[in-house]
C-alpha cells in the first residue's frame, strides 16, 4: 500500500507537517481494531472546495479548509488493507464546524470488540469493595456506638473526629514530613487527646448539670459545626493526599482488583474490631462500659467510676474514629476538611441498622451499608448511590424496629 507520503491534489495540498494554508482545519484519525492505518486516502469536499490527503504512520490526517461550512469527508476504501472495510456510518461522513476552528472526523474500523467486565465480575468486585468500605465504616461506627451506648449521646461531632485523624497525618506526614508511621502514631495519640479533652471540657460538665440528651445532641451539632469550619480555616477547602496514597498498585485476585491500601485497611479494620470485641466482652472495663450505658447511677452504686469509664470510652471512640479517618483518607483517597461529615449519615445509618448502642450491631450494620452503597449502582443511577443504603435502613427497621441486633424492651 501507499508507502510514500501524501499526494498533492490540484486544489489543495495538505500534509500533516505542512502549515495549513487556511484558518480552519478538518482533522481525523483512521484506526482498525485500535491500530492506526497508514496511507489511507481521505478526501474532503464541499462548498466548492475539494482536497485529499493520506494518513500518516499514526493514522492521522489534517486538511485545511477555507471557511466554516459542512464538508463531505470520504475515506477511500480501496486504500485500506485487504479485508478491512468501513462498516458503521459508511465511508463518507459529514463534517460540520461548530464554534471552533477545528472539526474532527475519526474512522474507527473493524469490529472493535470491547471486552466489558461481565456482570458477575462487577458484582464480585463490588462486593469486595463494599466489604472493605463496610469494615472502614465499622471502625467509625463502633466508636460512635460506644459513645452512644455509654452516654446516650448521638454525637454528630463524631464526623470531625474522623476528619481529625486524617488531618493530623496530613500535618505531620506531609507538611512536617515526618516518617509515615510516626505521623500515624502521633495522629492517633492526638485523637485520643482530643477525645479526652472534649469529654473533660464539654461533656463532663454538661453531664454534671444534668442537661438532656437532645440538648446534648444539639451541642454536638454546634461542636461539629465549629470544628468543621475550624478545619477549613486551617486547611482550606481543597483536597490533599497522604503520602503513598496515590501510588498506583494493582493486585489481582481473579476478577477482583485491590490495592495495597485496600488490603492494609481491611487487615487493620478486622484486627482492631476483634480487639474492641475482646475489650467489651472480656475486660472489666468493657463490662463496666455496658453497665454505665444501662444505668449510670446504679453503676456508680456498684463502685464504678462512671466519669472515668466515660472518659475511656471517649478516648477509645476517638482513636477508632481517628484511625478510620486515616484509613478512609487512603481508601478514597484524599483528605479534606469535611471528609468525615460526608460519611456521617452512613455511619449513623450503620449504627442504627445494627441496633443503637450495640457494638456488634454497628459492625453488622456497617457491612450492610457498605455493601449496599457499592452494589446499588449496579441498578440505580450512580448519583443516587446512597439511596439504596438508606432505603434498606428504612426497610430493615420496618421489620425489626429495634435494629438487627437490638433487643426489644419488655413492657410492664
Amino acid at each position: 500500500m501507499a508507502e510514500d507520503g501524501s499526494t498533492a491534489t490540484p486544489t489543495a495540498s495538505a500534509t500533516p507537517t505542512e502549515e495549513p494554508e487556511y484558518d480552519f482545519t478538518i482533522k481525523g484519525i483512521v484506526k482498525n481494531d485500535g491500530e492506526p492505518i497508514e496511507g489511507v486516502t481521505i478526501s474532503v469536499e464541499g462548498n466548492g472546495f475539494q482536497a485529499d490527503t493520506e494518513t500518516d504512520a499514526e493514522g492521522r490526517w489534517t486538511i485545511g479548509v477555507p471557511e466554516k461550512a459542512t464538508y463531505k469527508v470520504t475515506l477511500d476504501e480501496d486504500t485500506l488493507p485487504k479485508g478491512v472495510i468501513v462498516k458503521e456510518g459508511g465511508a463518507t461522513r459529514d463534517a460540520e464546524f461548530g464554534q471552533t476552528k477545528n472539526v474532527t472526523v475519526a474512522f474507527f474500523l473493524g469490529e472493535g470488540v470491547r471486552v466489558t467486565v461481565s456482570f458477575f465480575d462487577q458484582l464480585v468486585q463490588r462486593i469486595v469493595s463494599g466489604l472493605n468500605f463496610g469494615l472502614l465504616l465499622a471502625l467509625a461506627a463502633i466508636g460512635l456506638s460506644l459513645i452512644f451506648g455509654t452516654t446516650g449521646l448521638s454525637n454528630f461531632a463524631h464526623a470531625e473526629l474522623i476528619t481529625f485523624g486524617a488531618l493530623m497525618v496530613l500535618t505531620f506526614g506531609v507538611t512536617l514530613d515526618w516518617p509515615l508511621w510516626i505521623a500515624i502514631i502521633t495522629s492517633l495519640v492526638l485523637s485520643a487527646a482530643l477525645g479526652w479533652s472534649l469529654d473533660a471540657v464539654i461533656w463532663k460538665p454538661l453531664r454534671r448539670k444534668g442537661v438532656g440528651l437532645v440538648q446534648l445532641m444539639i451541642v454536638s451539632i454546634g461542636l461539629s459545626l465549629a470544628l468543621r469550619y475550624t478545619f477549613q480555616l486551617f486547611y482550606g477547602g481543597s483536597t490533599e493526599q497522604l503520602p503513598g496514597a496515590t501510588l498506583p498498585s494493582d493486585i489481582r485476585f481473579g476478577a477482583v482488583a485491590l490495592s495495597w491500601v485496600d488490603l492494609v485497611s481491611m487487615g487493620v479494620s478486622i484486627l482492631v474490631l476483634l480487639a474492641v470485641a475482646f475489650f467489651l466482652l472480656r475486660t472489666r472495663i468493657g463490662k463496666a462500659t455496658r453497665a454505665v450505658s444501662d444505668n449510670s447511677s446504679l453503676a456508680a452504686a456498684s463502685g464504678i467510676d462512671v466519669d472515668r469509664v466515660i472518659r475511656i470510652v471517649w478516648v477509645v471512640g476517638s482513636v477508632l474514629a481517628g484511625l478510620s479517618g486515616i484509613l478512609w483518607a487512603y481508601f478514597r483517597p484524599g483528605v479534606s476538611w469535611d471528609m468525615g461529615f460526608q460519611i456521617l449519615l452512613l455511619v449513623f445509618a450503620a449504627v442504627t441498622l445494627g441496633g443503637l448502642g450495640t457494638a456488634f450491631g454497628a459492625l453488622v450494620g456497617s457491612l450492610i451499608v457498605g455493601l449496599f452503597v457499592e452494589l446499588s449502582t449496579l441498578w440505580l443511577p450512580s448519583d443516587m448511590k446512597y439511596v439504596g443504603a438508606l432505603v434498606i435502613l428504612i426497610l430493615v427497621l420496618l421489620f425489626r424496629p429495634q435494629g438487627i441486633l437490638g433487643r426489644r424492651e419488655r413492657i410492664g
Binding site: V103, V105, F108, G236, D250
Partner: protein, 400 residues
Amino acid sequence: STGTPAPAESESPAASGDALPIAEGERDLSLPLGTILPQSGALAFLGPPEEAGVQLGADDVNAAGAGISVDVTYRDSGDTTTDTATVSVTDLLSQNVSAIIGAASSGVSKTVIDQIVAAGVIQFSPANTSADFTNYNDNGLYWRTAPSDVLQGEVLGNLIAEDGNATLGMIVLNDSYGTGLAKFTKEAFEAAGGEVVAEALFNEGDSSFDAQISEVTAANPDAIALITFDQAKIITPALVGSGFPGDKLYFVDGNLADYSKDWAPGLVAGSKGTLPGLDVGTLGDFTDRLKGVDPSLTDYSYAAESYDAVVLLALAAYAANSTDGTEIAKYLQQVSGGSGDGEKVTSFEDGIKLLDEGKQIDYDGPSGPITFDENGDPTEATIGIFQYNDDNTYSRIGDG
C-alpha cells in the same frame, strides 16, 4: 437543559449602530463592588483564586489612576446548604455597591439574583454556566464571564476523538457545570465518530467514587473524561489505582491543576485537558501577579474570569461615567465588543486610553476573548489544550 446557551444565536455582534456613545466629561468615579464568592462550604476551594482575581483587577484599575477607583467588599457566598449568600447580599446592598461579583455556584446565584437585580445592582458571575440565566428576567443586570461549555465541550470532544479514542467514559459532577460540559463533550465526540459508553454522575458532597469508577471502567472505554471540580484529586488516583491507564484521562477547566504535590510522579503523565483562556505567552505574568496577591494560591480556577469581571465593570462605568448599576449595565456589552464594533484592547489602561478618545473598545482579557451577547452571556473563548508532564504539572500543547 443545562449548559451555557449556544452562543451561536448571537454569533455576529450587533451592528455598531446600537452602541451608546461614550459619555462626556471628567471622570471622578468611585466604584464600590461587592463579592459573594465561596469562602466557606463545599465550594470553598474555588474562593481564593476568584477573590485574588478580583483583587488583582481592582489593583490594576486603581493603579491606572484614571479617575476611577474600585473599592471591593468581600463577603461569603457559602454554599446552598447554609443560606449565607442572602445575608451577605443584604449586607452588600446596604453598602450601596454598584455590582456584586459572584456567585460561583449557579444554585447560589439563583438564590440571590432576584434580591440583587431588584435593587438595581449588577450581578456578575465569573463561573455560572447554568442555562437558566440566559433568559432570566434580570432587567439586563445579570452578566457572566464564565467559560462557555459549548466551546470547551467541542474542543474536548474533538480532542479525544482525534487522539484515536473510539470509546469514552465520563465521570461527571451532577450540577450545571458538570452536566452541561458533559453534554457538549459527548455531542462533539459522537459527531466525530466516537461513542460514549459510560457516563457516571456523582453529587456534590459525595465522598468516595468507587461505584462511579467501577461503573465506568466496567465498560472498558479507550479514554475517560473527568468533568469535575476538586473531586478529580480523589477520583484520579483511585481510577489509576484500579488499573486504568494514567495517560488516557481527559481533564477540564474545573480540575486541570498542578498536582505535583498531590500525586505520585507519573500518575497521569501524558493525559490531557482543556482550559479556557489565553496562552501563558499572551497572558504574560498573570499567574505570577495573582500569586503576588495571594501567595498561597495553588490553583487558578476562574481567577482570570473574576479579573475580567472587575475590569469590564470598571471600563463600562468609565464609559458610562456613572457608578449606577443600571447605567453600567448598558455599556457592558459594548465594551466587551458585543456591540459597537470597538477596537481590541487587552488591558484596562489601553481601554481607558481609547475611551478617553471617545472610541468604542472591545476588551479581551486573560480569560480569553470576551464578547457578550445581549443576554449578558459570553460568546467567544480561546480554549487551550494541555498535557500532563511526569511531575504532574501541565503544559500547553495547543489551542482548540
